[in-house]
């Protein structure tokens, strides 16, 4: 599956989880709110019940006061009760949900109505000024008041109130407990859900991190191995955003592999070429010089001098050709043969070269001590051998001298090899470094024009430069630089690993 789709689904699942949590919390909040309302409802019912009871009692005591004193002021509370009680009862009824409580309220209402009938009759009789009214009042007193009809009703009302309030207190107690309970469970459920969602998000996060980093490190491993030269391909069965990258890496690996193999093949071919040049081209050449030798050997006595001169020319040219082929081979070999890099003490090296190529009567003056270089010994040897060799070979002075100097230029050393030879014309300053270019006549077989080309190639392969300064009749100075740090040091460390 696409990583994009996976990420999106992960996001959707999390969003859904958050929605669920939100919904559940909303529901729990609603429940708490309802329970609070229930509790408030009970509180109101209790308060209303108290007010109702108080008003009824006030009506009763007003009624009694009036009967005892006949003062109408006592009837204020009574008449207030008549007008205020019915709406109060209606309100209370609307607040009640329990049928038992409703029944109780109804019975209170009924009992109170009965009492009102009784009280009204007495009040009206008392107020009546007609003579028979007094008789009727007395009769009423005797039949009802003394029979405690009103008191009994009042007692019954009080008893019902007592039951009513008791029940409502109970209800309030229960509702309070339910509210407490719902608050607590809301808390618990909220915490559990939140922790759950956070955990889910964390797991999803870990999963994606692991998946993506895992795949990236697979790529990185592949790239790393390719960079270290093992051109393998990677199997990647999944189809996602990385597939293209893997395919590209695999393709790169294959291409590199192919190219490296081709390069190896080419190197082999070059070796083959070198072999062909050295063996197959040299063999007939040697054959020619052998034949010339044999002619000279066999016909020593009958060779005339012009023939002898020509034979000598043939021998010179073949030798020159052989030298050129050898030089060409040597030139082609530079940089292809990776010999070990070592610390090369130039003082020792120059001393060795001096022993090999410098006649004892030619002095070499070396200014100060020469440095020790990290390099392929053969390279430095070829450079100095050629330069010193040239300084002697072409030096026709009676008192040949060679000066070698070195200067520290920071990142580079600068070396110079100076002679007091014939010097070089300025127009040849560039040309002398080209292969097979020599300022000598063609028959000087020892000068093939390869030496300086080899020197230049070695120095440039090592990221140095070379030039010549010269004054005709005074001498030449070859100046070249050589880096202190080996250019391909990194590659070498990588190889050694």
């Amino acid at each position: 599956m696409n990583i994009r789709i996976q990420l999106f689904s992960g996001f959707l699942i999390l969003a859904l989880a958050f929605l669920v949590v939100f919904y559940v919390n909303q529901r729990l909040y609603q429940e708490v709110l309802n329970n609070t309302n229930y509790l408030n409802n009970s509180e109101t019912v209790i308060r209303n019940s108290n007010v109702l009871h108080k008003k009824i009692i006030e009506m009763q005591s007003g009624f009694r006061g009036f009967l005892l004193t006949g003062q109408e002021s006592f009837l204020t509370s009574y008449s207030a009760g008549i007008s205020s009680l019915p709406p109060l009862i209606t309100e209370q009824r609307s607040l009640l949900s329990s049928p038992d409580q409703k029944k109780r309220l109804d019975s209170i209402s009924t009992l109170h109505d009965q009492w009102m009938v009784y009280a009204d009759s007495l009040i009206l009789s008392k107020k009546d000024t007609l003579p028979e009214a007094e008789i009727r009042y007395k009769r009423l007193i005797d039949r009802k008041l003394k029979m405690e009809v009103g008191k009994k009703l009042n007692d019954m009302i009080s008893t019902v109130f007592l039951y009513f309030d008791d029940e409502e207190y109970n209800l309030r107690q229960k509702r309070r407990a339910v509210l407490q309970q719902s608050i607590q469970s809301t808390k618990n459920i909220s915490i559990i859900l939140s922790v759950g969602v956070i955990l889910l998000a964390f797991i999803a996060f870990l999963y994606f991190i692991k998946m993506i980093t895992g795949r990236i490190s697979q790529m990185a491993n592949l790239a790393d191995r390719i960079s270290k030269g093992s051109f393998i391909s990677m199997k990647y069965p999944k189809k996602d955003e990385f597939t293209k990258l893997v395919n590209s890496l695999n393709l790169m690996s294959e291409t590199l592999d192919k190219n490296f193999k081709e390069l190896k093949q080419k190197n082999k071919e070059l070796d083959q070429f070198a072999y062909v040049v050295s063996h197959d081209l040299k063999a007939p050449l040697r054959g020619i010089s052998n034949i010339v030798d044999w002619i000279e050997e066999d016909h020593e006595n009958d060779i005339t001098s012009p023939v002898g001169d020509m034979l000598h020319l043939i021998k010179g040219r073949t030798l020159r050709l052989e030298n050129m082929i050898n030089g060409l081979l040597e030139y082609a070999k530079i940089g292809r043969i990776k010999k070990g890099v070592e610390d090369v003490d130039l003082n020792t090296l120059i001393a060795e070269i001096k022993d090999m190529v410098v006649p004892t009567d030619v002095p070499i003056f070396i200014e100060d001590t020469l440095p020790v270089l990290k390099a392929q010994r053969i390279h430095l040897e070829q450079v100095f051998t050629n330069l010193i060799g040239n300084a002697i070979k072409y030096n026709k002075s009676n008192d040949p001298r060679i000066f070698i100097r070195s200067t520290d230029l920071g990142e580079y050393y600068q070396f110079s090899v100076e002679d007091n030879g014939p010097g070089i014309e300025e127009r040849y300053f560039e040309k002398i470094f080209e292969i097979f270019q020599t300022l000598q006549e063609r028959d000087a077989f020892e000068s093939t024009g390869v030496g300086l080309a080899i020197v230049k190639k070695i120095i440039e392969d090592n990221k140095g430069t070379i030039r010549v300064e010269s004054v005709i009749g005074k001498g030449s100075t070859f100046i070249f630089t050589w880096p202190k740090k080996l250019q391909n040091e990194k590659e070498n460390t990588a190889d050694r690993r």
Partner: protein, 135 residues
């Protein structure tokens, strides 16, 4: 009886070089030349005109030849009992090639390095050995 050498070499120049080098040893011997392995083998195995031809004492053998190269030639003659006693020297371009042949135990007694200028130590030693064998 005159000692006999069989030189198997396809290149006339090399044949000439070997002949001249041997001549300088100032020894009395007979030399026969074959220009490839097949010719060399027929010289060794056939007796022309019924005469019992004497076997050569030494074979100087080139490795790179047309028709039958030196190695094939060696393998074949080593299977002949009558030819086993012949001393064999090979003409080779490198000591490595010789070493490779020696490890195959083909019974080679020495080698001469090409180019045939007889300036290297091994070729000189071989010439000395030949002097001993032919005198």
């Amino acid at each position: 009886m005159k000692k006999k050498i069989l030189l198997i070499e396809d290149d006339y120049l090399d044949v000439e070089s070997v002949k001249r080098a041997l001549k300088k040893l100032n020894l009395d011997f007979e030399i026969e030349v074959a220009h490839n392995g097949v010719d060399g083998l027929s010289i060794l195995t056939e007796s022309p005109s019924g005469k019992n031809k004497s076997m050569p004492d030494v074979i100087i053998l080139d490795i790179n030849m047309p028709k039958m190269n030196g190695i094939e030639f060696l393998r074949i003659i080593k299977s002949y009992y009558s030819l086993k006693s012949i001393k064999i020297f090979i003409l080779t371009t490198s000591a490595e090639e010789y070493d490779k042949l020696s490890t195959e135990s083909l019974g080679v007694n020495g080698y001469i390095l090409k180019p045939l200028n007889f300036k290297d130590e091994k070729s000189k030693a071989t010439l000395a050995l030949l002097t001993e064998l032919l005198s």
